[in-house]
Every structure is written in C-alpha cells, then in structure tokens.
C-alpha cells in the first residue's frame, strides 16, 4: 500500500535530481547550477502537484462512479 507522504517524498527526490541534471547540462558555473536547480526543482514539483490535485479533484467529484 502506498502512502501520500512517501509519494510526495519520491516526487521531491525526483524533482531535485531532474533539476540538478538539467541545470548542470545548461550551465557551467556551480553557482548558476545551484540557483537553476532550486528554481527548476520547485517549478517541476509544483507543476506535478497542481496536475495531481486537479486529477484528484475530478476523481472525487464528477468522475466518481
């Protein structure tokens, strides 16, 4: 059985990893990589949470059987 806190933790871990790789690919200096990682990680995690939230809201309302 999956739990929401662990799924959230996995999302944060994935967002951080993705943001680090994308930032390191695009930037050269360590300072820019760290700053870019924070921005990209937060943006990605928020986007996934918003899409997940919308999907959950539909599931609990109009898509409820």
């Amino acid at each position: 059985m999956t739990t929401f806190p662990i799924q959230l933790l996995l999302l944060l871990v994935f967002s951080a990893g993705l943001a680090l790789v994308v930032s390191a690919y695009r930037e050269e200096s360590s300072e820019k990589i760290i700053r870019g990682s924070l921005r990209r990680g937060v943006m990605f995690a928020l986007a996934v949470l918003v899409i997940g939230g919308i999907a959950a809201a539909f599931g609990w309302t109009i898509l409820l059987p």
């Binding site: 999956t2 994935f14 390191a24 050269e28």
Partner: protein, 276 residues
C-alpha cells in the same frame, strides 16, 4: 569567451563517422585510419553481441520486432542491440529464438548474462560512434595528447557516470552527475528489492536501465537472478527511477562530449593566438 563551434565541414565529417559507426562499430575508426581502435571496437561489440545470442539461446529476438511488407521481413528492431545495426540484423537472420523452438527460456541458465552482453554491445556501439566523432576533431584540429578528447570523455561516462567530467577537471559536475545517476539507480533498485532489472519482466524499462553503463551491467547480473514473492508498493517508482538514471546518463555523456569539444576548440584557439 564566446562558445566555439566546429566548422560545417567538420560537422559533416562527424555525421558521416557516426553513421558508419552505428552501421558497424569500428567502421568510422577504420575510415579515419585508426586500424587498431577499429579492430578493438569491432571485436568487442561483435563478441558481446554474438556471445550474448549464444548464451541466451537468441531469446533476444523475442523482444525485437520485425518490420517489412506483408510476410516479407526486412529489418529486425531490437533495442538497444540495434546500435550495432548490421551485426544485429545478421544475428536476427542467423539465429532462431529457443523459445520459438518450444524451449522455455527459464531452462537457459546463462540467459541473463547473454541479454546483458548483447545489450551492452548495442550501448557500446552508440558510444563507439561518439568516440569516432571525437577523432574527427583530433585529426582536423590536433593538440598535444594530454588533452581529453570528446570521445574519451563520453566513453568514460559509460564506465562510471561522472568520470568524463572528472577527467575534464569539472569535479563539481562529476560529483553532481555521478551522484544523481547512481543514487537514482540504487534507490530505484532498492524500491524493487534489487530484483527489478530483468529483461524478461520489464523489457521496455530494461532498455533505459542498460544505459547506466558498466555499474548498471554489473548490477544487472545480480538483479536478474532475483525474484520477488509479492508486488511491492513502490515497484513502479523504482522502475521509473532506474530507467531515468540510464536516460540521465545519456545526457551526462552528451554533456561530457560537448564540454570536452568546447575545451578542445578553446585550447586550439589559444595556441594559435599565442603562435601568432
């Protein structure tokens, strides 16, 4: 300093070498006059491919797809073996899967090693193309041998994620890239109880997982033999993480190649300026 890029002529030559190398690993090196390197890449890739087919009873063909017209079969697409394109086509014609012959793949004791070998041959073929492409730069813009060539940086990434950047002196990036790829890979395996790296169970995920490189291939030999008694709660997340680790390693290899090429062109320009 503004980013330097290879000339159009060099880029065309690189494309030609990549194409030849993907058709037959070593062909690009041979055209460039690197006979021993050509022989090395060719022998390594073909030994792994055909050795893998023999050990796995050619069950690799069960994960490929024939394309053609009607009943006429033209090409067999197997990933990642298709990186070694012509030899994988030859293997598809020469061999018949033991499973098609009525044998259960479970009875083939070395099948996991065979799949790992043939998959590694395909991945190595992709990196041989990067190596040959880097040699075009070496030949057209020669520098003293202490400089790391783009091809070597890319191949080093396959040996250990981040090693290419380490050789280029980019230690921060080496730790970052290597850390992310390896931690994703290990965390993903742990979520699947170190049993989720198996071509028979997850053939599509397995393609991405193989691009983790040598640490992944060694991990595959351990993980393939394991099995689980129940469906795990975070198994899907684990599969996704291990596959993404492999895909990230492709990005790391490309970055190592591009940064090395940039360093090379900058060093060449500095040398020419100081000579003038």
């Amino acid at each position: 300093m503004a980013a330097l890029t290879p000339s159009l002529k060099m880029r065309e030559e690189k494309t030609r070498m990549v194409t030849w190398s993907l058709l037959l690993p070593g062909a690009g090196h041979l055209i460039l006059g690197r006979r021993w390197e050509a022989l090395g890449w060719f022998a390594l890739c073909q030994f792994l491919l055909f050795g893998g087919f023999v050990l796995a009873g050619a069950t690799q063909l069960d994960y490929g797809r024939w394309i053609g017209f009607g009943s006429m079969k033209l090409l067999c697409l197997m990933a990642p073996e298709c990186g070694n394109f012509l030899a994988s086509q030859l293997a598809a014609v020469l061999f018949q899967s033991a499973e098609n012959g009525g044998h259960s793949p479970e009875l083939i004791p070395w099948r996991h090693l065979g799949h790992c070998m043939s998959g590694a041959a395909g991945v190595l073929a992709f990196f041989s193309a990067a190596h040959a492409s880097g040699l075009v730069l070496v030949q057209q813009e020669p520098l003293p041998p202490r400089h790391v060539t783009p091809g070597k940086a890319a191949v080093a990434t396959l040996l250990l994620p981040g090693l290419g950047h380490f050789l280029l002196g980019r230690k921060f990036k080496a730790v970052l890239f290597g850390g992310v790829v390896m931690s994703f890979f290990v965390l993903g395996l742990a979520l699947g109880e170190f049993a989720d790296f198996n071509r028979q169970r997850h053939p599509y995920y397995w393609i991405g997982q193989m691009f983790v490189g040598v640490p992944g291939w060694l991990g595959n030999l351990v993980a393939s033999a394991r099995s689980f008694a129940q469906v795990l709660p975070y198994q899907d997340a684990g599969l996704m993480l291990t596959t993404v680790a492999g895909l990230f390693n492709i990005v790391v290899g490309l970055d190592a190649y591009a940064r090395s090429e940039q360093d090379w062109l900058e060093a060449k320009e500095l040398k020419e300026q100081s000579a003038a």
